[in-house]
């Protein structure tokens, strides 16, 4: 299954983003490739610090320059490289063609503007509607995201709303201009499960209604399983596995994905005894191991894993995995060596 420009709305190729700090360069995103098909949902999972958020910010070029910089790569949106666009062109795309929902509903809304104003703002910018029209549209949006008595709520400030409502307002903002692509960075992490269920349901419904493509960032494998069509698993700034959602949950390839799936305590099945675990912890971004970043924690790592970084390569069933195991090389290597710190 190869991805071609015609069917994908967004294609990220070899994206590399670094932060230049006092302590040195942090390669937050270090070679990321994936694509999103029109109307479909891509999930990006990975542990904290694996570069999920930075990937999404890089796409919209919202990084804090000059500390964070996109070093190379391409972000092809509808056939055009966003990284080559001017600032002005980017402004026209943001919020209009591509919009974004952030993790923290508490802090992502401006506390000094009413919810209505904040929704209306992007409508006025992109659709050039007058104040009154924009306001009406924003009330409509609030209704759409399921906020009761939207006229009243539109005049309220974010602090007057609960977390779930705020996230709905965020969704209303991001969907106000019918974007073709919606990026949701951990849209429900800060919410309770019952609220999370509401929000996920809402996103799913709106996506179906509007035909929006969706990119969901999360560390919750359950969310991925429920929402996505495709999954990219990230580890230390790299995509280690990129596959169909079914494949990932039924037949994970990368040892990290396998470990991850096993270490989640499940609420709907009994696990007797201890959880299977991944030993060790995520390496410091300043001090990444050479070769495969997961090698020090990998139960099956061999010499080559410590020495050389594998490519994100297609396996026989169409998945992409960044692991030596699925290469011809593997057989030639010797016994597994573990190098725990």
């Amino acid at each position: 299954m190869s991805l071609t420009k015609e069917e994908s709305i967004l294609e990220v190729r070899n994206l590399r983003t670094s932060f230049f700090t006092d302590e040195g360069e942090v390669k937050a995103v270090d070679g990321v490739d994936f694509s999103i098909e029109k109307g479909k949902t891509l999930g990006i999972v990975g542990e904290s610090g694996s570069g999920k958020s930075i990937t999404s910010l890089s796409i919209l070029r919202l990084l804090q320059e000059p500390v964070g910089r996109i070093k190379e790569g391409e972000v092809i949106f509808k056939g055009e490289d966003l990284l080559k666009k001017s600032k002005k062109q980017m402004m026209a795309i943001r919020g209009n063609n591509i919009s974004m929902i952030f993790q923290e509903p508490m802090t992502s809304l401006n506390p000094t503007l009413t919810c209505g104003e904040q929704i209306a703002e992007s409508i006025r910018i992109h659709q050039k509607l007058n104040k009154k029209k924009a306001w009406e549209k924003s009330v409509e949006m609030l209704k759409l995201v399921g906020i009761p008595s939207p006229e009243k709520r539109a005049k309220q400030y974010p602090f007057e709303l609960s977390g779930g409502m705020r996230q709905r307002v965020m969704i209303a903002i991001s969907l106000a201009c019918n974007p073709e692509l919606l990026i949701a960075d951990e849209p429900t992490t800060a919410l309770d499960v019952t609220i999370q269920a509401q929000i996920l349901e809402l996103i799913k419904k709106l996506q179906e209604d509007m035909g929006t493509s969706l990119m969901i960032i999360t560390h919750d494998l359950g969310v991925v399983a429920e929402m996505c069509d495709k999954v990219a698993v990230m580890y230390c700034g790299k995509v280690v596995e990129y596959a169909d959602v079914k494949t990932v949950f039924t037949d994970p390839k990368h040892p990290y994905t396998i470990g991850l799936l096993n270490s989640v305590p499940k609420h709907d099945e009994d696990v007797e005894g201890d959880l299977a675990i991944i030993t060790g912890s995520v390496p410091s971004p300043f001090n990444l191991p050479s070769g495969c970043s997961f090698a020090p924690r990998c139960p099956s790592a061999k010499e080559i894993c410590h020495a050389t970084l594998p490519e994100l390569a297609e396996t026989s069933d169409g998945d992409k995995v960044r692991c030596w195991i699925y290469t011809d090389q593997w057989e030639k290597e010797g016994e597994a060596v573990s190098r725990h710190e």
Binding site: T21, D22, E23, Q64, V67
Partner: protein, 300 residues
């Protein structure tokens, strides 16, 4: 004048205290050392402290000796910075003056900070009526416009170096108390305080071992900034004739006394003015730098 730089400094941000200690401690010195402005500030402060300490060795003349025949001399090889309206050597007076001005600045800040810290920690830790009471007192103190409080205190106690220190210190109390209270409140909420409480630790132990060290950094920053404004407040008191007594070569007094000669002998006000400016700027830069270095959020 008596600025209120306390408003500029942050109370401890709950997220910053424990959370980013990691980046903090390690890179604190690095950051400080990298901050050129802070290093300039530190340099100025250190140089003046040394000058103050070694003033008797360095000063070419007796700072109070008048040579009326040599009054208002412009800078020369004999008197590097010239002489004042009574023929006293300005350099010597400035050198000796650094002892007084720095003492006034530092002692009053220390005194005020110490009282403020105690009040603030007690108020913040115990809360309830203790907190209300202490904060009301601070509000009352703050309600007296800056220098008026100092003036009133000096006028009651009489004008002298000691009383100036007391007056300026008095004004510092609510400032510090508020900051410390704020920090204490945030630190108090941190889980390690609960953990140690759950261990069965006494309040005194918690306050001294666990709260104080963690509220100290904003205080240190505040102190350096306050020293600067204390020096200026002291000089304002001198201007109003309520500061240190002549012939004490306090900088503010020198500046205040020389002001009649602004036109014919600008050097006698220029130098004290410059020195005050320099030291105050020095403390301010250093304080700012400290703050930035202690604040993990600053990048670059």
């Amino acid at each position: 004048m008596d600025h209120q730089p306390q408003l500029e400094t942050m109370a401890v941000n709950p997220a910053r205290v424990g959370n980013s200690k990691a980046i903090r401690m390690k890179s604190f010195y690095k950051k400080l050392a990298k901050n050129k402005a802070a290093m300039v500030g530190a340099f100025i402060v250190i140089v003046f402290s040394l000058l103050a300490i070694f003033a008797p060795l360095l000063a070419p003349y007796d700072p109070t000796e008048m040579q009326l025949s040599k009054k208002l001399e412009t800078p020369s090889s004999e008197h590097w910075l010239g002489t004042d309206d009574k023929g006293r050597d300005i350099l010597s007076r400035l050198l000796y003056g650094s002892r007084i001005s720095l003492t006034v600045g530092i002692l009053s800040t220390l005194l005020g900070a110490l009282t403020g810290i105690i009040l603030g920690v007690v108020a913040g830790y115990y809360g309830r009526w203790v907190d209300s009471l202490i904060m009301r007192i601070c509000d009352v103190l703050l309600a007296f416009p800056g220098i008026l409080l100092a003036l009133a205190i000096v006028s009651v106690l009489g004008a002298s170096t000691t009383n100036v220190i007391i007056a300026v210190a008095f004004y510092a109390i609510p400032t510090f108390a508020r900051i410390v209270r704020g920090s204490t409140l945030t630190v108090k909420k941190l889980e390690y305080i609960d953990a140690i409480k759950a261990m069965g630790a006494r309040d005194t132990r918690i306050i001294i071992k666990h709260i104080l060290p963690n509220v100290l950094s904003p205080i240190i920053v505040q102190s350096t900034l306050y020293i600067a404004s204390a020096i200026i407040t002291a000089s304002a008191l001198s201007f109003l004739g309520m500061g240190t007594k002549p012939p004490t070569p306090e900088w503010g007094t020198m500046l205040a006394q020389g002001r009649s000669y602004v036109a014919q002998a600008p050097h006698i006000t220029l130098f004290p003015g410059l020195v005050i400016l320099l030291v105050v700027v020095g403390f301010n830069l250093f304080g700012d730098g400290l703050r930035d270095a202690l604040d993990p959020k600053t990048k670059k």
